[in-house]
């Protein structure tokens, strides 16, 4: 019976699409019906998923395993069969530290400096980005003049390539850039922004927030607009203060969107590379060198391209991201259960 209704639906579709598609569907009907008889109706979805799974597996799952295999090998050859197996040596090299809080005591000090910098970046970038995105979304959700225009303005940087974003800000911040020209014009001294570690980190965080905030604002704005207006009307009738409305209605109902924003921002923050690489080059010294840049340098820019060590570092990064994702899933599930 189910089969009949499926065929009717298929026939209807085919009728819409014209003769060639109709022919294709007719050709597929027989083999699909045969497969369904063979494996049963419940397993049929797997047949349709198979092409996508094969594609995904080939280009995502398989590379993950290849990367893990590389992390267990050494030498400089690119082809797997040419690389000597070294077990967990690369991981041991990465994790060998006298004092884990001081990167200089670690054998691979730049790996730990990359982790330390990434944590600092993620902490400040995610905190401020979520805060600013929320404030912006709350403002853009109100009936203000030119609301559509401002929504577009805040979203515009998201459309730019990270390299373009970084180059724009580099021109602003260089020794002879626009900002220093302005400082000099009002009688102040130039500031060498990319020479001070603190300034470099500040601008890395600022530019990243500037570039990505619009995307998160959009998610929060969608969440705000999904909150039923009658809740606010009831609160208004009760004479509830706007502060209480925010804490008791807006924030709890916006929480699922907030959670998505936080986790997405965390994952994106841990993966930070392109715009900061163009903006500061990782400098001064290693002040803005993040974990992904460490992997890139180790695997590609050094004369001896250490793919094994780079792969081991990327496995560590992958594990960290996996933990973050699991935490998000757990938190979401708890919220759904509640």
């Amino acid at each position: 019976m189910a089969q009949d209704s499926d065929l009717t639906f298929t026939g209807r579709l085919a009728g819409l699409a014209g003769a060639p598609v109709r022919l294709l569907f007719r050709m597929l009907e027989l083999p699909l019906a045969a497969i369904q008889r063979g494996i049963g109706v419940r397993k049929m979805p797997w047949i349709f998923l198979l092409p996508n799974l094969a594609f995904f597996g080939l280009f995502v799952i398989l590379p993950l395993f290849i990367n893990f295999f590389y992390s267990l090998t050494g030498g400089i050859q690119l082809f797997p069969s040419d690389r000597p197996f070294v077990g967990t040596e690369q991981y041991g090299f990465l994790l060998e530290c006298e004092n884990i809080t001081d990167p200089q005591t670690c054998r691979e000090d730049r790996f730990w400096k990359g982790i330390y910098n990434t944590l600092v970046f993620v902490f400040f970038q995610v905190s401020f980005m979520v805060l600013f995105s929320l404030i912006t979304a709350l403002i853009l959700n109100r009936e203000i003049r030119a609301r559509g225009f401002f929504r577009a303005v805040f979203f515009f940087p998201v459309l730019l390539s990270p390299v373009v974003v970084a180059l724009i800000w580099k021109w602003i911040l260089l020794r002879d850039g626009i900002l220093n020209a302005f400082l000099v014009s009002i009688g102040l001294d130039k500031i060498l922004f990319f020479v001070s570690p603190e300034w470099s980190m500040f601008w890395a965080i600022f530019v990243s927030i500037w570039a990505h905030m619009g995307f998160y604002t959009l998610i929060l704005l969608a969440g705000l607009q999904a909150i039923p207006p009658d809740l606010y009307e009831a609160a208004e009738m009760d004479g509830t203060s706007s502060e209480r409305v925010f804490w008791r209605i807006t924030l709890p109902l916006l929480w699922p969107n907030m959670l998505v924003v936080i986790v997405l921002a965390l994952i994106k923050g841990v993966q930070i590379f392109d715009e900061v690489f163009v903006l500061t080059g990782g400098g001064p010294g290693t002040a803005t060198q993040f974990i992904v840049q460490y992997i890139y340098n180790t695997g590609f820019t050094n004369q001896v391209q250490n793919f094994g060590l780079a792969s081991a570092a990327s496995v560590v990064l992958g594990v960290a991201l996996f933990v973050l994702t699991m935490a998000q899933l757990a938190a979401t599930r708890r919220k759904d259960d509640a």
Partner: protein, 425 residues
């Protein structure tokens, strides 16, 4: 009528067959190239001439940024996906990927006679013929002579030391309010010449790399001090990380720095960008207790082993390496010739710019004074491992992340680590 039609049909079929045959016989060679100045245009002119003489071979000149030559090309080659030819500067480091053209060349002796000493830079372990030097380079400083004259400060003489220059450029900068008294390319290759002048040996008695010694420390200490006292701007060396290259050519061209340590390859660029805006002079390499030396170097055009057309690559290289072509190439690009015959007979450099001529003669005159240690280092296949360790760790000391002593320890361990990884295969 039918006969005429058949004749027409037959002619068309023949023409189609011939043109298809010709198309099938066409060979396309890809040459990866980067530009310091105008050499891409000059090379394209030579390639056009080659194609006119060899209608079955097409050469595509892929001009890429220098960074791609350093970072992307090695990965391409390791994956077996490289071009047929490339212009490279990591001469020995990429040697395993070069094509030995010896069996395909018209006259291998011509190559050995005219490119002999440089062939070993490309193939440190063997006797292969892989390519030729598109230019020889010598590292050394440029000064803004106009600023010296405006400030009334005398130019340090021929045997002046780096300290003499540091004192002089600071005086000029103070008097004229120039933001950067001295700038160096952020490059280990650039630092190595002055370090050798201070007595750095670079190798131990067994010929193994030994980067850190008293000579290197002497120069590293100076670079550190100059960054702290403002002789050099942290903005140039400090604003990037790792072994990233950063040049100060724009600062020099914009008269933002009094002295610029770079090399002979900047001549055509300065001739074009600075022109006669001010007097830019190349000066002899400043001295240390051990020598007055820069580093030799250069870029080479090499055939690559991954090519499917080794004969055609050799044919093209044979064409480009002839004296007629190279004389035109060096003359137009203002490059120091890497061809012994032309070096002896002289190249008619295509410039009336007295500054460019002066710079060319200064760098040419510097060649005999280059230290043997510098030649050994240039010929060492893994020299970039040493250069990168030097530049990245010294930089971390300059910006205050490491002490100089910690930086020296890290330089040594970085070199050991990378070489050990390389030898594991």
């Amino acid at each position: 009528m039918i006969g005429k039609f058949k004749l027409l049909l037959g002619t068309c079929a023949l023409a189609l067959g011939l043109s298809t045959g010709a198309a099938l016989a066409d060979t396309e060679l890809r040459m990866t190239w980067y530009n310091d100045g105008i050499e891409g245009e000059v090379m394209q002119g030579l390639l056009d001439r080659f194609e006119a003489e060899n209608s079955d071979i097409t050469v595509v000149l892929d001009v890429v940024p220098y960074k791609s030559i350093i970072e992307s090309l090695p990965v391409q080659l390791a994956a077996g996906e490289g071009p047929d030819l490339a212009r490279v500067t990591d001469l020995g480091g990429l040697s395993e990927h070069y094509l030995d053209m010896t069996p395909y060349l018209k006259d291998a002796n011509y190559w050995r006679t005219n490119f002999g000493p440089f062939l070993k830079w490309l193939d440190p372990d063997g006797n292969a013929i892989n390519g030729f030097m598109t230019q020889l380079t010598v590292t050394g400083p440029y000064i803004n002579k106009t600023l010296f004259e405006q400030a009334g400060v005398a130019l340090p003489g021929n045997k002046a030391t780096w300290d003499d220059y540091a004192t002089a450029v600071n005086k000029v900068a103070d008097k004229l309010d120039i933001p950067i008294p001295m700038a160096w390319d952020r490059s280990g290759h650039r630092v190595s010449g002055p370090a050798i002048a201070m007595g750095a040996k670079m190798f131990d008695s067994a010929g193994n790399p030994a980067l850190v010694d008293n000579g290197l420390k002497q120069m590293a200490q100076r670079l550190y001090d100059w960054h702290q006292d403002g002789t050099m701007s942290k903005d140039l060396w400090g604003s990037v990380s790792g072994s990233a290259y950063l040049g100060a050519n724009e600062d020099f061209a914009n008269a933002q720095t009094v002295m610029y340590m770079s090399g002979s390859w900047q001549i055509p660029q300065f001739a074009e960008t600075i022109g006669d805006a001010f007097d830019w002079w190349a000066v002899p390499a400043p001295c240390g207790p051990a020598a007055c030396t820069g580093m030799p170097g250069g870029a080479a055009l090499v055939g690559l082993a991954g090519t499917d057309h080794p004969e055609e690559v050799a044919k093209l290289m044979d064409f480009l390496a002839q004296e007629k072509q190279l004389s035109e190439f060096y003359g137009k690009t203002l490059f120091i010739p890497g061809h012994l015959g032309l070096a002896e007979s002289g190249v008619d450099f295509d410039t009336d710019d007295p500054r460019a001529k002066h710079a060319l003669s200064t760098f040419s005159a510097a060649v005999p004074g280059i230290s043997p240690v510098a030649f050994d280092l240039q010929g060492y296949a893994n020299n970039r491992v040493m250069f990168n360790a030097l530049i990245s760790r010294l930089n971390e000391a300059i910006v205050g992340e490491l002490t100089l002593d910690e930086a020296y320890e890290r330089m040594t361990s970085d070199v050991e680590k990378e070489l050990a990884e390389k030898e594991r295969n």
